[in-house]
Amino acid sequence: MTEYNGYSFFGPSTLKELLEEVALFDGSIAFLAGGTDLIIELKKGKKKPHLVIDVSQIPELNGVHEENGFLHIGSATTFSQLARHPLIVEKGLCLAQAARKIGSEQIRNRGTLGGNIASASPAGDCLPVLLVLEAMITLQNPDGVRRLPLSQVLQGSGRTCLTPNELITGIDFPVLDGGYVSGFEKLGSRTAVTVAKLNLAAVIKVDQENHSITEARIAVGALGETAFRLPDLEQNLVGEINPFLLHLFEDMLTETVDNAISGRYSHPYKREAIRGLAEDMFVNLFGASSVPGGRTHG
């Protein structure tokens, strides 16, 4: 075992510079974006890279634009940017909602979407969102570029498919047009600045005329190593909107919890609490009248 002597720092201003350095560098590399996860880990000695490469000042990795029916987001785009970006609010609202609920203003001003993915926390708030948006993640290293669905990128708690010298450069997903509604809900231990005990994202296509759901995508987080989609539930939601839908949604979510974490300390709580998230999600997607008794919350 060789002794760890700390890391050096490289702060490129273009992707090209970055890739050149990566190609040349012999040793372990950590990419640093907002630092809201990494700096804590570096300080605690949980990560011991030889080189830290700052991606926070590379314009190509920052920003949101629309192209051919897809929204493209630079990996180093911050939550603050996402929270109010007009394109995200209009065509990927659930992502804006998730970004608004992350951490504090200070965290949102630094923390990035790419960092959220690469950290691959079981409770990462953008992860269920990106799953329901069917986002593709673009990865790049000096040898080339690959574009993978998020579900393939996430490999477990804190684990991704990224190779040691590979970088997330961008995230893209098909825009949600007018026929879709989307939403994000989160349950923590307080109103703001809290890790999710449960989070839930949904994209729903509604046929207003026929009062029915034609497509549903639902994902949950904090119920296992990674966030995941719920295909059975999604299928069951498709069809005519009826008064029992919420109940079905709740029951199937409870069942999801039972399947995911039975025997865990948090199981009895989460199987109940997820019903609250289910209601919140209905209110979010369909308005207060979609839950029994409306919403009396103060």
């Binding site: 307080r190 703001a192 600045v193 709580y269 109940e272 998230l277």
Partner: protein, 757 residues
């Protein structure tokens, strides 16, 4: 006690805190901001095991690192035993002295094992990782109720190591005959003080063997006492200077870092800084005492309390600290809130292999009030009586006596607090409201409390001050005051300014410095405004008397004829001939070779109760178990608010702590490993701004006591009633009788399960 017969100019006014400008400018230097020349940095190694014998410590690799000055362990540091709570010589006889700078047997995860002293933090940190410790694990216990089995022996004493009983009347007999008896078991958690400033201390040796300690402390003479004892130094070779306080709440009341830091400075002959990080503060300093209480109340059918019985266990953690004192303190409060002719309190203290408990805002009162008040609530419920009505029937009244033999309750206006608070809160209307149907339930609850005003009746409680007027008329108060951020200095200036009739800004006050300050027993026991404030008033009156007699000499009139107003003085007979205070001081110096200076000792003469009643409305999300506090009305009998804004500041802050105590804060310890699970602000949640409820404050200011202008304490009582009021509101909302704090969402949902089925 106060100046008679005039409108008040400064007392009762909202002056801003004296060091506000320095604080908003970021210029005030807290201890952690100081870097002295040649200062070394110490870092601590903590025990990873809850109970173990240290077999060996190998520091060779650590010592080999350049920049490491030394590694200190139980093998090369003083073996003197002490108790961190002791604040006067002789007090150790009332408790156990079971702490040392470093121990050879670790007793909790977070116990101090070793220190590295190095030229900088980085080196110290690196060396820390290279110390090899070999432990022999011992059986451990983290459960206070199991401590009674005496299976695990933490110290060579039988558990419980301390028992205290208070009683009045004959409760056994009454319980035997009573028809209605309501019993509850209440549990309160270990809580982190969460002062934003972590624990820190700097010790500086001089060339004559004196050690100066810079520390944000609450009782400098307690620091001096223990450091002198451990280092074997005479008192005058230990100088303790109280530095700006970045929050304490009792957490920095005990002597935790100072003996070690002083020893390191002594042995290295260099200034040494010792600063903990947040995790270390949580796991290894002090906590609020965990308490478990079983309480029984016997009532008659009309709601008169006939008898009460309390069986209380205090978990003081791995070292005794204030384990004995807090058991007594809790018991005493019970005889000062309700009129109960037959009452027994039995408190017992035990050790567990957990973080050491100590003073924490309220000194046991929040815990004992939670136990008492939740049971008052369930008793009212059993009687089908409104809890307000039930309380008002039984609460103490002004000038009641303490049936356990303590000092008179004084002008105890808790009924007024309850009634005024209820009116502002619209208690009856809210209580009578139809319950909400559906997911969100609302409820209202209330609780009362009392707390003390110093040590009168228990220990010596006195303070010496020196007040002088300088040649320009400005003044200096020399005292051992400890400003903790509550506004002590400004309030004291207001008192002196009121007496002297001068601008408070023209009065300067040093804080505690054992070399220059007269004796003071420190900022503890809710004594500062009531006792030290009275001392300031008295000494100001004395200086005023001296001033007047001297001015009378100059004006050639009688002292009664001397008028003092806004730093101008004259004889009532010759209003045109006016002199400034400074001119008097100068003339007195020139003509009489006299300084306008007085040193006086003030002894506390009473210990009335402060009182409060808190009203709370909550909304409970029955699906997620999350609780939102919607409204708080807090009424307090403070005698007189010297500075109402400060008083409210204490109440708002006390409520912030109390909401956490009720809902989120809990130093959770893994029973399998003894490890603290909530060891950072990421998983130990104190209430942040979005979750703070609106708060309305009502102050009852009738002032009938010996405090300055009738002032009584507020800082501690501010956090004593809010938690049970919240829990009571939740129980009202849900129809439950939850009594284990904090009411986490998990506990709420589990509490609701029986109803759902």
């Amino acid at each position: 006690m106060g100046e008679e017969g005039q409108g008040l100019k400064y007392v009762g006014k909202n002056l801003p805190i004296h060091d506000g400008a320095a604080k908003v400018r970021g210029r005030i230097k807290y201890t952690g901001d100081l870097a002295l020349e040649g200062m070394l940095i110490a870092k601590l190694l903590f025990s990873p095991l809850p109970h173990a014998k240290i077999l060996s410590i190998d520091a060779k690799a650590a010592l080999a690192i350049p920049g490491v000055i030394g590694v200190y362990t139980h093998e090369n540091t003083p073996k003197t035993h002490y108790n961190s709570q002791v604040w006067f010589d002789g007090q150790e006889a009332m408790t156990l002295e079971d702490e040392r700078i470093f121990t050879d047997t670790v007793r909790f995860v977070g116990d101090k094992v070793a220190a590295v002293l190095a030229v900088d933090e980085r080196t110290a940190q690196e060396a820390l990782g290279l110390i090899k410790v070999e432990y022999e694990a011992l059986p451990f216990n983290v459960d206070p109720e199991k401590a009674f089995d005496n299976v695990v022996s933490i110290h060579p004493v039988q558990e419980p190591f301390f028992t205290k009983e208070f009683h009045c009347g004959n409760s056994d007999e009454v319980f035997e005959q009573a028809e209605i008896i309501v019993e509850d078991r209440v549990e309160t958690p270990k809580v982190h003080h969460a002062a934003m400033e972590p624990h820190v201390c700097i010790a500086v040796p001089d060339h004559n063997g004196k050690i100066t300690i810079l520390t944000p402390c609450q009782i400098m003479y307690s620091v001096r006492l223990t450091v002198a004892k451990v280092l074997g130094l005479p008192f005058n070779k230990v100088r303790v200077i109280k530095t700006p306080m970045g929050g304490s709440f009792g957490g920095k009341q005990e002597v935790i870092l100072e003996p070690l830091c002083a020893y390191l400075a002594q042995s290295s002959e260099k200034p040494v800084k010792l600063e903990l990080n947040r995790k270390e503060c949580i796991i290894s300093t002090r906590t609020r005492t965990k308490v478990i209480g079983v309480v029984k109340t016997a009532v008659d059918g009309r709601g008169k309390i006939l008898a009460r019985d309390f069986q209380v266990i205090a978990d003081t953690g791995a070292y005794t600290s204030n384990g004995a004192a807090i058991v007594s303190a809790m018991g005493k409060k019970l005889f000062r809130l309700y009129r109960v002719d037959n009452q027994r309190y039995q408190g017992r203290a035990v050790h567990t292999n957990t973080t050491v408990a100590g003073a924490c805002r309220g000194y046991g009162t929040p815990q004992i009030m939670a136990i008492s008040e939740l049971n008052i609530d369930s008793t009212a419920r059993r009687l089908g009586m409104d809890p307000l009505e039930f309380r008002v029937k039984n609460l103490v009244q002004p000038q009641d006596s303490d049936l356990s033999g303590g000092p008179s309750l004084g002008d105890a206006r808790v009924i007024e607090c309850a009634l005024e608070g209820a009116k502002a809160f619209e208690w009856s209307e809210k209580r009578a409201r139809e319950p909400l149907v559906g997911r969100y339930k609302r409820g209202v609850g209330m609780a009362c409390s009392t707390h003390g005003n110093g040590y009168y009746g228990a220990f010596q409680d006195f303070v010496t001050m020196t007040l002088r007027m300088l040649e320009d008329g400005s003044m200096i108060l020399l005292s051992g005051l400890h400003e903790l951020g509550c506004g002590t200095i400004t309030s004291t200036k207001q008192i002196i300014a009121e007496v002297m009739d001068m601008d408070p800004d023209r009065i300067e006050m040093s804080e505690g410095d054992t070399e220059t300050s007269p004796y003071d027993i420190g900022s503890q026991a809710s004594r500062v405004m009531h006792v030290c404030g009275a001392a300031a008033l008295k000494i100001a009156q004395s200086v005023k008397g001296l001033f007047r007699s001297q001015a009378a000499f100059i004006f050639k009139c009688s002292p009664e004829d001397v008028v003092m107003c806004d730093e101008m003085t004259w004889s009532i007979k010759e209003p045109d001939k006016r002199l400034t205070y400074g001119e008097i001081a100068r003339t007195v110096q020139r003509q009489h070779q006299l300084e306008l200076i007085i040193t006086e000792t003030y002894r506390a003469t009473d210990n009335p109760g402060s009182y409060g009643a808190n009203f709370v409305e909550v909304e409970v999300d029955t699906l997620t178990g999350l609780i939102k506090v919607l409204d708080v009305v807090a009424a307090f009998d403070v005698g007189k608010a010297i500075n109402p804004d400060f008083v409210k500041g204490q109440i708002y802050g006390g409520i912030q702590m109390g909401v956490g105590f009720a809902l989120t804060e809990d130093i959770k310890i893994d029973p399998l490993t003894g490890i603290v699970k909530s060891d950072s602000f990421a998983n130990y949640h104190i209430v942040n701004a979005p979750d703070m409820p609106p708060m309305r404050v009502i102050l009852i200011e009738k002032g009938e006591n010996d405090g300055p202008y009738g002032a009584k304490s507020i800082g501690e009582i501010a956090t004593c009633a809010i938690a049970p009021a919240i829990v009571s509101a939740v129980n009202h909302a849900l129809g439950t009788n939850l009594t284990v704090l904090p009411l986490t969402p998990e506990r709420i949902l589990m509490g609701l399960l029986p109803q759902k089925k």
